[in-house]
């Protein structure tokens, strides 16, 4: 059992509330990504699981054990730090071995004991082989590349066979190419170990590509939890809508118009249809914020709204058309082969009503 469960967990540093009433259950064997901008409390949440920060309020469980007062070393978790935190003065082998030296392990005969040096060496060899570090065991961290150091940090985390892996932005010090490669390797590692991974990042690409589920945090509060695609498709509030997706979702204020037989949202002098809006108890004249992802905006001669092109950004396989819509900047994502557009063109736009999101401008919550 290596479920990790936050139940109303709050962490305060003096007057600052870093994590506010977090309730989140991470399932056994799940790859959970805590996603949010810097300062959102994601790292603090992870550090509470590790035992590096105390819990101010609420209960934190790992498996069936409440760990609020359990020391870090007794929690059976391993952490990979952003800087890797390798010991610079000892070899790779000693670094990997380090979690095995001081702790006691249950080796199957019931009572936990310290491992013999032969057992430790065996585990180090195994972890090093799993991560392709066998030839580097005699080196010191200073003689390794960034990617190799990162793998040493992973091997050090693996070697104690923890109930949960905690990772704090482990890819942020790698270059783009290596990062993409390591994402795949981490997913493979997760499948092979079948252990709970709690992974902290501000990078939505990492979150989307690796997570079983994403937990989006902002200002210490949980905004939404769910599988990546579900979070992308149905953001619960404006923060999630704007944070996930690159370029971000277009959000423009509008007004609900109810007239006989039709319900739409008016933006400036134009209106756009929204699926399911008729069923919502929204009165005529209600202020809303309408959101459409850049790829869901389509240029169509029968389009309901018109936007003027201000700039076109070519990205090779696609282009981003930046437009002005009733005084608001919006972005349209188009394939490179679509009809050419130029600055100053006025584009008639339409969107699948099923892909239009409505948010309450006051509460920022989703309305449809």
């Amino acid at each position: 059992m290596s479920e990790v469960a936050f139940d109303g967990v709050t962490k305060r540093f003096g007057d600052v509330t870093a994590v506010d009433q977090l309730t989140l259950s991470i399932r056994d064997g799940e790859f959970m990504v805590l996603l949010g901008p810097s300062g959102c409390g994601k790292t603090t949440a992870l550090r509470m699981v590790a035992g590096l920060e105390t819990v101010t309020e609420g209960t934190l469980r790992i498996g069936d054990r409440v760990v609020n007062d359990v020391e870090a070393k007794d929690r059976d978790v391993a952490m990979v730090f952003q800087s890797y935190a390798l010991y610079p003065h000892v070899t790779v082998a000693k670094n990997i071995e380090s979690p095995l030296v001081a702790r006691r392990f249950d080796t199957g005969d019931g009572s936990p004991r310290k491992l013999t040096s032969a057992e430790r060496a065996e585990r180090v060899t195994e972890a090093a082989a799993a991560l392709g570090l066998t030839d580097l065991l005699g080196r010191k961290p200073a003689a390794l590349s960034g990617g190799q150091r990162q793998r040493v940090a992973l091997a050090r985390a693996m070697v104690a066979r923890p109930a949960a892996f905690l990772m704090d932005e482990p890819l942020s010090n790698l270059d783009a190419k290596l990062r993409a490669q390591t994402r795949i390797e981490l997913v493979e590692l997760h499948e092979r170990l079948a252990t709970t991974f709690v992974y902290v990042t501000h990078d939505q690409v990492e979150a989307m590509t690796m997570a079983d589920r994403i937990a989006v945090l902002s200002d210490g509060r949980l905004q939404q939890v769910g599988p990546p695609q579900a979070v992308y498709d149905r953001p619960h509030n404006l923060f999630v809508a704007r944070f996930i997706g690159s370029p971000p979702m277009n959000t423009v204020p509008g007004t609900v118009v109810r007239s006989e037989g039709a319900t739409s949202v008016r933006l400036g002098g134009q209106s756009i249809e929204v699926e399911g809006l008729a069923a919502e108890p929204l009165a005529d004249g209600t202020e809303v914020i309408i959101g459409v992802r850049p790829e869901d905006l389509v240029v169509d001669a029968a389009g309901q709204v018109e936007a003027e092109v201000r700039a076109v950004e070519w990205l090779g396989h696609e282009r981003l058309v930046v437009c002005d819509l009733a005084g608001h900047q919006i972005t349209i994502r188009q394939a490179a082969g679509d009809d050419p557009v130029a600055t100053g063109d006025v584009l008639p736009l339409t969107a699948d009503p099923a892909k239009v999101h409505l948010f309450d401008p006051d509460t920022t919550e989703r309305l449809n």
């Binding site: 590790a50 070393k73 391993a78 010991y87």
Partner: protein
Amino acid sequence: MTRRAREALLGYALLVPSAIVFAWFFFYPLYRLFVMGLHQQNRTGTAERWVGWSHFGDVLGGEQFREGVRITGTYVLYTVPLGLVLGVLLAVAANRRLKGIKVFQMIFSSTIASSVAVASVIFVVLLNPQIGYFASVKMFSLSDPDTALRGVALSSVWQNLGLTFVIVLAGLQAVPDEVDEAATLDGYGPVRRFFRVTLPLISPTLMFLAVVLVIFALQAFAQADILTQGGPLGSTETLVWKIFNSQQPVDQGTGAVMAIGLFGITLVVSLAQFLILDRRVHYGN
């Protein structure tokens, strides 16, 4: 002229000012020291007589110099290890995120602002056999030839403590928190963390301090002069004290040779420290 030659010329030209200063204030005095060491002076130092290299052998092999080396060596042993250990202890104690810790850090580092003379005067009073606060602590008594050097060393340890503290604290603060946290997760207790992680990581700092403190100790003069005037029975006559006092009535030549001897010792000890410690010191990346 090739570009390479022009650049080399410019490089040397830029070195000239510092070379002049160095020659003036270092190489010329050193040369003069050698010349003095090869001569015997009259009382006023206005006339000198060639005595040659045998003077070096006589002085460096003589009783006075050997006694000075023994006393100075003992002084190094008294001051350096104790100073380092105390400095590390204070720095570890003060390296926390606590309210008001800055006050303690300021107090611990305050001896930086005191000179050797001030420190010595303070200890003259503290160790005074009649009115001193430590008068009853016999192991530091300045009036006993067996313990006087310890008393002098104590004042020096106290005076250098501020510097040691500040430098060790800076070293500790350069140790990444994450490495310490990784060690915590690895199950290392505070003591093990200190010896297995912190100490190796601050070893470059400690090596630097060891070299500096040894050189300070080899050059000790004012403490001995103010606290004990070299006594009792010459038990606190450090090398520099002997060098200085040998010039006093007559013998500048002897002092010069001893000074060259001390220079040689300092050079060898520093080089040895670098060579030995460098292999055991762990530089991060």
